[in-house]
């Protein structure tokens, strides 16, 4: 079996410069603050659909995405706002998506963070869990066929790993030894379902063995550990070493979505994980290690607040899409006859 458990102890600063260490903090803070702003907007009923939080998982999303190079492509899940921000998605894009604005990246067609930009390096998910693993197998297949030294990264939850699509996708990638990193986010739950009702393994990394791929593990609340374990997998993939399945141990501190009151978890569990908050922990790490002053972090916080305020101001009152824009872009060229016929009948 090729799976190896590598809980590891991350090198103190994972070879990152001070500016990079600060940047990690920035992205984590930005993630959290955008979501907090969205909670406000949600309560004001300005968010159109549901709201999904990644509270407590910011390190997992940001640290893993940060391990990618510019040309690499990742495919996020609903709790990977942080990954998308690292890859260049902007607060205003996210706000516009949630509020279904005409100027949103999907022109109001898709919700929340379901949007993409292959140039910047993120491919949008669809709701059907598992599919993106198969799609990312194809993305990375294209890298290999074109002899590009690029890597793909795809996220799956503890729940999503039960889907047939996950299985077929990872197996295909494993057989083809594609440059794909699969990040399994073990956050304890899939909606209300605890992990022991999802799988009979104790740790998700055990699934690596069944696919003949390398397995690795890290504390998902330690952004540097996440960065390191991902970086190693990414560089291994880039060098032709094939797939790694990384399990990040973390916890979903909010309900599945904003409407879910988490009746199925105990207060103690929540408190225990609140104590392991990845942002607090990283802030302490930076200040105690002399890598940042409290003032520097406060400045970053202020910058984040300002950026979000600017973004909200920019888009809050933007219009929703024009109704008739709903019709274009199903095919590269609209089948003319059908459209004419359609309008005539509805006239």
């Amino acid at each position: 079996m090729t799976s190896t458990l590598e809980p590891g102890t991350p090198a103190l600063h994972a070879g990152l410069s001070q500016a990079q260490l600060h940047e990690l903090y920035y992205f984590m803070r930005l993630t959290r603050s955008i979501e907090e702003k969205l909670v406000n907007l949600y309560r004001q009923t300005k968010v159109i659909g549901g709201l999904f939080r990644s509270l407590g998982q910011e390190a997992d999303a940001v640290g893993s995405a940060y391990a990618l190079d510019k040309g690499d492509i990742l495919s996020p899940l609903i709790r990977n706002l942080g990954s998308m921000l690292v890859k260049g998605a902007t607060p205003v894009e996210v706000l516009r998506q949630y509020m279904a604005k005409a100027e949103s990246p999907t022109r109001g067609r898709e919700l929340n963070i379901h949007f993409n930009d292959l140039e910047r390096g993120f491919l949008g998910q669809i709701s059907h869990l598992g599919d993106m693993v198969a799609v990312m197998a194809g993305v990375t297949l294209s890298f290999r066929m074109r002899r590009e030294a690029r890597v793909g990264l795809v996220y799956v939850g503890d729940g999503a790993m039960s889907t047939g699509a996950f299985h077929e996708g990872i197996n295909f990638a494993a057989v083809q030894r594609l440059p794909l990193v699969i990040v399994a986010e073990n956050n304890g739950y899939a909606y209300s379902t605890p992990m022991h009702k999802q799988t009979a393994v104790a740790e998700l990394v055990e699934k690596a063995a069944g696919y003949g791929v390398r397995g690795a593990q890290a504390d998902g609340n330690d952004v540097l550990a996440v960065y390191e374990v991902t970086k190693e997998a990414v560089e291994r993939a880039r060098a032709g070493g094939g797939v790694t399945l990384i399990e990040l141990m973390t916890y979903r501190r909010k309900g599945h979505a904003e409407h879910d009151n988490q009746s199925y978890v105990t207060k103690e569990e929540l408190e225990a994980w609140a104590a392991k908050d990845p942002l607090d922990r990283y802030a302490r790490h930076l200040t105690e290690g002399g890598r940042a002053t409290a003032a520097e972090l406060a400045a970053i916080d202020a910058r984040v607040t300002a950026e979000i305020d600017t973004a909200v101001a920019l888009c809050e009152n933007e219009p929703l899409p024009e109704p008739a824009t709903a019709l274009d872009g199903v095919l590269a060229e609209p089948p003319k006859a059908e459209l004419e016929w359609y309008r005539r009948l509805d006239g």
Binding site: I48, I126, T163, S192, T193, Q198, L320, E322, L327
Partner: protein, 326 residues
């Protein structure tokens, strides 16, 4: 008498059948302690036990396959799809294994698959689908879609008692918006395969089901007031097998027909109904059968877009005027 919502009626129907018949059990994602994403099975696990209300992994193929296996052995599984959009993941095992089991192998497969379908709730392309067209084409399945609280209850009970696999599509827009007084002691069973004339009329007919029933009734009232038109409204309730007799009866009565469905037009159920009308009572038509459906696009998220794409009462009114004036 108690006033119950569509969702409560469904829940009551499920609970009554579980209490009546110990072979009935429920499986799906988050149906247990949580009571399901829309709380349809709230309290069930406590009442009926963990073995009869099973939280499954995120595995639609396994849910449907396991239900089939248990059904072969004499149990009566009810599968919940968290959103009906995810039934697509089990498309193959459902259409190839479940639907054909009786025909090819004499296997009894009494099972129900139910889940929230439909739009008008800003759910975007993957939480708003209307799946009926995808399964209309599958001999061996039955398919129902209640529009009222009474039928929500009556059809879930009938589906559970049916000897064949039944797809039960509930409409999430109706869950808490529709209320009805249902007598406490009465055993409500809506026969599968039977449409219902919900409003009598003589100038034209609207054939419809599920959430569109309410828009059709609204349009009918408006047309009566503003145009003096007498509009008959037929709620199909069962989509497979279609109630040909009811369809023919209303055509013969009004000679003008609108078919209204929420789903996209091309390949939708309205095509099949149009063809049947054509074959069964062509001579009785005084105007072409007209379809009022969603535009042929994946359902977009923004309210402006969703409202434009989905059929609205106004669309029905306009189309009805056109058909009436033909």
């Amino acid at each position: 008498m108690a006033e119950v919502t569509y969702l409560e009626a469904l829940r009551d129907g499920l609970a009554e059948e579980m209490a009546r018949d110990e072979r009935v059990f429920i499986l799906g994602e988050d149906v247990g302690a949580y009571g399901g994403a829309f709380k349809v099975t709230e309290g069930f696990q406590k009442r009926f036990g963990e073995e009869r209300v099973i939280d499954t992994p995120i595995s639609e193929v396994a849910i449907v396959g396991a239900a089939a296996g248990a059904a072969h052995m004499g149990l009566r599984p009810v599968c919940e799809m968290q959103f009906i959009d995810f039934l697509s993941c089990a498309y193959s095992i459902l259409t190839n294994y479940v639907a054909t089991a009786r025909y090819r192998a004499g296997l009894k497969t009494p099972m129900v698959i139910r889940g929230p379908s439909g739009g008008y709730v800003r759910g975007g392309p993957f939480h708003s689908q209307n799946p009926e067209a995808a399964y209309l084409h599958t001999p061996g399945l039955k398919m129902v879609a209640p529009a009222t609280a009474r039928d929500a209850k009556g059809l879930i009970k009938a589906a559970i008692r049916d000897e064949d696999p039944v797809l039960y599509f509930e409409h999430k827009y109706l869950y808490r918006r529709i209320k009805e007084d249902l007598p406490d002691g009465e055993e409500i069973l809506t026969p599968i395969g039977q449409a219902k004339v919900v409003r009598e009329g003589k100038d034209l007919s609207i054939i419809t089901w599920s959430a569109m029933l309410w828009k059709s009734l609204e349009a009918a009232e408006q047309l009566e007031k503003t145009d003096g038109l007498s509009v008959e409204v037929v709620d199909l309730r069962t989509l497979l097998p279609l109630d040909d007799a009811a369809i023919v009866a209303t055509v013969k009565k009004t000679n003008r027909v609108l078919i209204a469905h929420e789903d996209t037009r091309t390949g939708g159920v309205a095509g099949e109904i149009t063809a049947r009308i054509n074959e069964l009572c062509f001579e009785w038509l005084d105007a072409p059968v007209k379809r009022v459906c969603a535009h042929d696009v994946p359902l977009p998220y923004a309210p402006t877009l969703e409202d434009f794409v989905l059929p609205q009462t106004d669309d029905l009114v306009r189309a009805a005027r056109w058909v009436a004036a033909y």
